[in-house]
Symmetry: C2
């Protein structure tokens, strides 16, 4: 039971403290000593643990006992880490949460094997629930959606991966805002939807309540991704633990600010920005200049507003859910997602 | 119900014909049109479909209706293909079943995303069974075993992957036959054990019968791998669809013939063989000479004998299972595994 005076940061901390041992034990349990070092690297690097928080709070807001949802909460955090391990391989990402990524530290082979192991630990944890069949089915379908989102994200890149005939052939030259939202609901909302739904399922909620939580997760996810796009370009690297402008370096049109910013540029600025976006090896100077052109389009304010709209929509989904401390924390979380700096 | 005059090749064909549409549909069902081409490539390339046959025949031999095990059979073939996609990435394998491997044809990104999708389709299929929780739990634990086997196989390589500090640090300089069997029971037996057990579970068999099938799968898997090791070195590439001596090129001490052959070599032959095994880029001439040195140790005959012993042990596990056409086909399969040429 959550204390009435608990604020969101404290609640996130408490949930992380409860979930982490479950997650560590599950990862280590079926692995040789020698492999554990590799397996624990990604989760030891930290993370905001927002998805398990959404799951636990959704469970309690839907009238359930969050204790019973601990395994599912650990599972969804592992799904998230599973997708990050893979994402870093695909995007050649070298740092995350301020430390080397798994493939960078232990090599591609061990990173792939660890990813496969993560996925099995997810099932192990979910099989412990009395709602295991439903939970597994949710996780299943949302991981498939996520794969499609990831695939689209890659196809939205404007250059690169030339040794990849499939990507060259299927690359999207123009991307609309609707295409972007469709990609993002797959790539990012999937795990928020799954988290919120799983919490409600563990609470034994009815289908209309589960559906309300799904809608909350869906919109929260879009909001989250828009802010991620913003932080990628204008965040503080000491807070995000990531390289500034990574999405430009990776030629991504699947970043809301790049997409909308380009619509607002013209003439020399637009050509210059596009040349940097398509450059195989942009200099720091060119990257900085591109970022300042982008900032001047006012797209930062536009992004905050869009994130806020999705966040408000997420909150509105929960009107069918009775008031409770847990529900209020979920509403706070929807605000936090918009105004976070990391 | 299997016809009395059905022989093993016909039975394998019939099972493949029944399982393949299930597997194709399941892969395509939750994927965009554009992604289906990628997803279907590995399964379209063919394969012996031995694991689904083990599953279906085990189900019938344990008194069940093999029709009810079709989804599980398709699932286990997809697990197998999932591991092959990953194996080819890890080992940089460019050809399999006579066609380019998935990463080679569509690039690393699409291959990894396809692998993730495969794993989810496996769960989807297993969730359709009334024994889904048990089946999912079997698949889970055996995939984790398989990961550990794959990890050991890589650590048994004698050179290479120098950009991989973890592998350099943990590499096994000496490997005993027991180490080899331990690695192989993880890497290869896992899916045979899972197949045989899942068939018995789908038949509603008791725990002692499920355990008998597990033992059958375990020993069949070791036999299968020893013959795979043999075919890698001395098979006909037109039959196997693989490059001859790939395990030497990949510096693998985790091949029974290389392991046992080295024990029987001495002097110049041994130094020469080791130099080829450890060579970063062996010439075809050196590879041929190494293979002929290996052949002269008599290790081929030794391997056939070991494979036969494991196969006999597999068969003996089924003595507790009553006679039936399906059981006799499983016994035939244990013989086929030893004497196959592809």
């Amino acid at each position: 039971m959550l204390k009435e005076d608990l604020n969101l940061p404290k609640a996130l901390e408490e949930i992380a403290r409860d979930v982490e041992p479950v997650l560590y034990d599950a990862l280590a349990e079926n692995a040789s000593q020698e492999f554990q070092e590799v397996l624990l690297h990604p989760v030891k690097a930290g993370g905001k643990r927002i998805r398990p928080a959404v799951l636990m709070l959704s469970c309690e807001a839907a009238g359930g006992d969050p204790e019973a949802a601990l395994n599912a909460a650990a599972a969804i955090e592992l799904v998230h880490n599973y997708t990050l391990i893979i994402d870093d391989i695909i995007d050649h990402g070298e740092f995350r949460r301020g430390v080397p990524t798994l493939w960078k530290k232990y090599g591609l082979t061990m990173a792939i094997l660890a990813a496969v192991h993560y996925r099995e630990v997810v099932s192990e944890l979910l099989l412990k629930s009395k709602n295991s069949v439903r939970l597994l089915s949710i996780v299943d379908s949302y991981i498939m959606r996520l794969v499609e989102g990831e695939r689209l994200d890659v196809l939205f890149e404007q250059v690169g991966r030339e040794d990849d005939p499939y990507i060259a052939e299927h690359r999207r030259i123009s991307v609309s805002f609707d295409d972007y939202v469709d990609m993002v609901t797959r790539k990012t909302s999937s795990l928020y939807e799954a988290s919120a739904m799983m919490g409600a399922v563990e609470a034994g909620a009815g289908e209309n309540i589960i559906e309300a939580f799904r809608g909350f997760g869906l919109n929260l996810g879009v909001s989250f991704q828009i802010v991620d796009d913003l932080l990628d370009l204008f965040g503080s690297p000491s807070e995000t633990g990531k390289q500034v402008g990574k999405d430009i370096v990776e030629h991504k049109l699947g970043n809301m600010l790049i997409l909308k910013g380009l619509e607002r540029m013209n003439g020399e600025n637009k050509s210059f920005f596009l040349s940097v976006l398509r450059s195989r090896q942009a200099s720091q100077e060119d990257l900085d200049k591109a970022l300042s052109i982008l900032a001047r389009t006012g797209v930062k304010e536009n992004a905050v507003r869009e994130a806020w709209l999705f966040s408000e929509k997420a909150k509105s989904m929960l009107t069918v859910v009775p008031d409770s401390k847990a529900k209020r924390l979920l509403l706070d979380l929807a605000d936090y997602v918009v105004y976070r700096s990391k």
